[in-house]
């Protein structure tokens, strides 16, 4: 199932589910994040969102160190669910902007990065990327 999410992401689409029981949205998953129901339908979510929090990572795990420093962010989509990814801006700039980045609008796309031995997908590693909408 995660392959489907990242295939779509590389085409600029964010896949999720809509719960027919409680009407809430989740990033693609077997059951609803909110109520656990399996009565869900697959939907294409908005590919725009708002930054809710972020951090610039200066010490990275083995396999990610060449990408360091990088900015990890959480984004809230229009449908209310959150997605984790990378902010597509310079690490220094992110730390200069600080808390002002929270609330800024971003557009979501997918980008392939070099794989690492422990990642569940042995063929590729796709990262959700967040580009600031100016």
């Amino acid at each position: 199932m995660f392959k489907e999410f990242f295939d779509a992401l590389l085409e600029g689409k964010v896949l999720g589910i809509k719960c027919k029981d409680c009407n809430s949205y989740s990033i693609l998953k077997s059951t609803c994040d909110n109520c656990g129901s399996r009565n869900v339908e697959k939907v294409e979510l908005s590919n725009k969102g708002i930054i809710t929090t972020f951090t610039t990572t200066y010490v990275a795990p083995a396999g990610y160190d060449k990408e360091c420093p990088y900015v990890v962010a959480f984004v809230e989509l229009e449908e209310g669910c959150w997605l984790v990814g990378r902010l597509d801006i310079d690490a220094k700039l992110a730390d200069e902007m600080g808390q002002d980045l929270i609330g800024k609008e971003v557009e979501i796309y997918g980008k392939e990065f070099p794989n690492e031995p422990y990642y569940p997908d042995k063929k590729r590693r796709v990262v959700p990327m967040f580009k600031l909408v100016s």
């Binding site: 990033i27 929090t53 200066y58 010490v59 984790v84």
Partner: protein, 398 residues
């Protein structure tokens, strides 16, 4: 089903820090022998081993540890298994061991854990720790453990409208307090070190994941801890000062991004601690001191709120006002916590129990909590994936 009262017979813990010369099993044996010596039992009385370890595969190339560890401590042949729940591994093991005795499956068991993260080095250690975040979505973005709590710190600042520089100063007070207590604890990784930090030292140390600096983070640690459990009836026959298990709780959660804003309210911890209070017939006001999972400064603040000690958004003030200091109303981490004492992940939960038992028995002379009768532990596995709370006391459950 009527449950039997359960008590601690003995506790043991290695010095925390760097142990390049001892294997996971050898480290555990050192902690176990200390617990065994004070238990007044014979080795053959121990019926099962509950062993916590997080990433033996990655740090030591070793899994299936139950049998090797049991054999190392002279208990070849007993049922022995490893429990893995990230930083809460040995707390989960403790809770299962507790239930096994409470329900009559066993009369006497040993529970504990060991871990060697310092020895593994920072890059492998950081990757190993990161196996506890969501293994698809969060890891691909490169989310690390300091990263998780850096995200939480920024969200906390935003939601509770505390300017980030003000919040960082209050977070620094957690580091100053826990390092101060860790520096006087001979078993700490930082014994005699960093006992007199200033706010500026914390703020200006190396940035790890903004806004968390090195001194906002607990270290990578090698170490082990062990606890021997039996029925309250047996414990009263064997030793002078049994410490009773009054209540336990456990809860879980999925990926951090799916928890959304709840990440600063730590809902699984609220569920877990309420479960423990209910079983013990107690409220947060009855707790004399707590060992809280301070993997990061902001983590201690968030935890103290979710456990019901302070209102949401007020935990940072409580630290700054000294409420959580040794002479305050609710001492938190009198042994230095994870920040001052060290964090050998799979051994951390039962190391918290080690301290609570020592303090309750009036044997912890480095930083005693006056007249303490009830202590509590709080162990967090991953980004709220596993939560365990345990309440211990010097009197039986009412």
């Amino acid at each position: 089903m009527e449950k039997r009262d359960v008590a601690i017979l003995g506790v043991g813990m290695t010095k925390f820090g760097y142990h390049p010369d001892k294997s996971l099993a050898e480290l555990f044996a050192e902690a176990f022998f200390e617990a065994f010596e004070e238990s007044n039992i014979e080795l053959k009385d121990i019926e099962a081993l509950y062993f916590g370890n997080f990433v033996g595969e990655m740090t030591d190339g070793s899994a299936n540890l139950g049998g090797f560890v049991a054999d190392e401590i002279g208990l070849k042949g007993i049922p022995a298994r490893r429990y893995e729940a990230a930083c809460a591994s040995s707390s989960v093991a403790f809770r299962e061991a507790y239930y096994a005795i409470a329900t009559g499956i066993y009369d006497c068991v040993v529970v504990g854990g060991s871990e060697r993260l310092y020895n593994a080095g920072t890059a492998i250690g950081t990757r190993a720790l990161a196996t506890a975040v969501d293994g698809v979505y969060e890891i691909t973005a490169g989310l690390t453990f300091p990263g998780v709590f850096a995200l939480a710190a920024r969200l906390y600042s935003k939601k509770y409208e505390i300017p980030l520089d003000k919040l960082r100063e209050k977070m620094a007070m957690v580091s100053i307090k826990n390092h101060k207590y860790g520096a006087i604890n001979p078993k700490s990784q930082f014994y005699n070190k960093f006992g007199d930090l200033k706010v500026e030292d914390v703020l200006n140390s190396k940035m790890i994941c903004s806004p968390l600096t090195l001194f906002d983070c607990c270290p990578m640690t090698d170490g082990a801890s062990a606890v021997i459990l039996t029925t309250a009836d047996k414990a009263e026959d064997l030793i002078d000062t049994p410490v009773y298990v009054l209540g336990t709780g456990q809860s879980s959660a999925g990926a951090l991004f799916r928890q959304k804003e709840d990440m600063i309210r730590a809902i699984p911890r609220k569920i877990s601690s309420e479960m423990a209070y209910k079983e013990a017939g107690l409220t947060p006001k009855d707790i004399d001191f707590v060992e809280i999972h301070d993997c990061f400064t902001i983590a201690e603040i968030i935890a103290s709120e979710a456990m019901g000690f302070f209102e949401y958004g007020k935990g940072a003030d409580a630290v700054a006002e000294g409420v959580t200091s040794i002479d305050g109303d609710l001492p938190i981490n009198p042994d230095g916590g994870l920040i001052g004492k060290g964090h050998p992940v799979g051994a951390t939960g039962t190391a918290q129990i080690y301290t609570v038992a020592k303090i309750l028995r009036n044997e912890y002379k480095y930083n005693p909590v006056k007249d303490a009768e009830i202590g509590m532990t709080d162990t967090l596995g991953g980004d709220f994936g596993t939560l365990v709370n345990i309440i211990l006391g010097i009197h039986r459950r009412r």
